[in-house]
Symmetry: C2
Subunit: 197 residues, 2 copies
DNA sequence: TATTTTAGTCAACAGTTGTTGGCAAATTAA
DNA sequence: TTAATTTGCCAACAACTGTTGACTAAAATA
């Protein structure tokens, strides 16, 4: 035994270097415009290593672009501040360099990469949907979650990808208050007629 | 004289065929994943014609992706239905196959194409901004327009590009009412403190 | 009709892409 | 230290990219 192919300390270090470089480049340029040669150059290793470590460029992307949103349990928070809580959480996630940085990666790539789009729908389904669902009547849960997603992703798109000037300049507290109020209305369902599923 | 290089009826027909094919493919696959060979095949002509007619792939894209939103003059409409009017207008534009179809094209491509992103910012600046500006106090105009853009583009993103199921299923009247209310709040500035520019 | 101009095709170019096999160097295990 | 693996680099591949020039067929002009 004792033949760990790819788990020696040196291997783990370069493996992580590749992941970091890939995450940065995918976030900046998207999937298509990021080449394995670019990633290799940034990680300081030969491009061929990327294939040997991850099998293919697509496989590498799949491993990079799986962010955990760590959404808070909204059923526990005061129902009056659900919107603010959600927006604050997302801004903290996106503004920092944490693992949630996988979100801009997906947003940049989802436009032309069906796999990335599927990944984003999955995140929406498994993380945003349950969190929003508990904040209102179950019948209207899909629509409430859909509206929340449209505003939240629109914010991320205009602020981090398209970089529309006034949206970029807005201080976090301002966004939390204004957009938070919208999310609040969507999530609670106060904007829906009682008879529409 | 009488040497119109590219204005003979036959030339105009194939030129239009190229534009149509390009518009469709750009909208479906985005800029990067659309090749001149694909466009040529769909238009039924040799790929080299595309270069001879438009100069380059980028030039073709620039001509395709310049949609005119034809936004209504909101200063003339009742200030109470500004939101609904705007959302209804965008849905009509996007839902149909008209010239406004250039919007999904841009949205798909803007993620990885800086030129497309710039184009989208330009459209925002020259069309959405003025329309929204007249609906409230001038000092808050940039922020109001920014918020409007974030919700409007988020709607287009989730409904036409990412195709988040519940957002796709929403009937237009539902969107006009719910999202329209949000746009109304953003555009009028009723969600802003009076002292924040 | 004769002639000039244009539309269109073909083949090929130079560059870039993801990916692979062979070989030297370094690290690990004994 | 010596032997066994594995990390890493190099060169090259096949496929695909946008783009170009030469040549043929068609159309417009006279």
């Amino acid at each position: 035994m004792t033949k760990p192919k790819g788990s020696t300390p040196k291997a783990l270090r370069t493996r992580e270097a590749i992941e970091i470089a890939a995450r940065e480049l995918f976030a900046i340029n998207g999937f298509d415009r990021t080449t394995v040669r670019d990633i290799g150059a940034r990680a300081g290793i030969d491009p061929s290593m990327i294939i040997r470590y991850f099998g293919s460029k697509d496989a590498l992307f799949a491993q990079i672009a799986a962010p955990d949103l760590h959404l808070p349990d909204l059923s526990a928070t005061d129902s009056g501040v659900i919107g603010e809580t959600l927006v604050r959480h997302f801004l903290d996630l996106w503004e920092g360099d944490g693992v949630g940085g996988g979100m801009p990666v997906l947003l940049r790539s989802a436009a032309s990469n069906e796999e990335a789009a599927e990944q984003l729908r999955k995140i929406f389904l498994t993380q945003v949907f349950p969190a929003v669902a508990r904040a209102g009547p179950p019948e209207t849960a899909p629509r409430r979650a859909g509206l929340v997603a449209s505003q939240l992703l629109g914010l991320a798109l205009t602020r981090y990808v398209l970089m529309v000037p006034p949206v970029v300049m807005m201080p976090p507290e301002f966004i939390i208050r204004t957009v938070g109020a919208t999310i609040q209305r969507y999530a609670s369902g106060e904007c829906l007629s009682p008879d529409e599923a």
